[in-house]
Amino acid sequence: MLSAPPRQGPSSVLHFVAGMAAVALVYVLVFKLNAWLFSVAKITDHISWIFLPAAIRMLAVMLLGWAGVAGLYIGSLSLLGSMFEFDPVGALIVAGLSSVPCLIAARVVQRLFRVRTDLAGMTGRQLLVFGVAGGFLSSGLHTLYFAYAAQSLAPVEGFVPMFVGDTLGTFIVLYLGALVINRVLPPAKED
């Protein structure tokens, strides 16, 4: 289900690297934008009641698969700069938790709803389920890791804002995207 990308030619490698770089860049930019726009909703620097980058995570893995995961990993790692200095192993794990679970969630939901690999025929409702599943898995695994690292149940309190933030953030981006698409490309009228 989560097989590594097949061996391909140089142009595929180039596509992979370009996709990865674009995702890393967009993820970091949206993260900064989120911190600026929703500073009142923030719990910590990485937990907010509205977390727009969650949408980037979902879209990146749905569109680019492993290239999206790699981009998210690099983007997350760069945002964990100060953590990396003091807890490098923890930073590597947390960056993994910000990227891989999104692909797992996407693949599981894709199978569950029998969505084609090219995403053809996917409904809006299914897209929302992708967002909720990604948010749930990512928040759940982050919380479990934090609880394990702290050897305490205190991090469990962070699960709700993380999950709500991821879900809300994904919904906001999806609906804004839908709004823009409808404005720019209005559906063709049938005569």
Partner: protein
Amino acid sequence: MPSNKKESSLLYFKFLNLVAATRRLPGIPEIDAVEDRILAFLARSWYAGERISVVEAMNGMPEISPTTVQRRLKALRFKGLLQVENDQQDNRLKYVQPTELSMRYFAALGQCMRKAQAD
């Protein structure tokens, strides 16, 4: 120079010399001017009872670049002059805390002030 000003200057020079001597005391790790500046910045927050995160410390001193602060925080931690604690909810968030040694260092500086005034 009026004697009042002269006395004040003398007091200050005595203080500087005492601080320099204190820094050479056994058990006190060597710290440079940048580390001293960072410690002073942190000490003000600690004294006010504030918790200061690594990121806040990195961005709190406009005269020192965030990367330098980050590197020096790591060095100060290595020297035992500060410790880093995780946030209870989110272990990505790290707080900088004083140690026994940093408190001893601040106390030694305080003694320098008293000594300079008393002599």
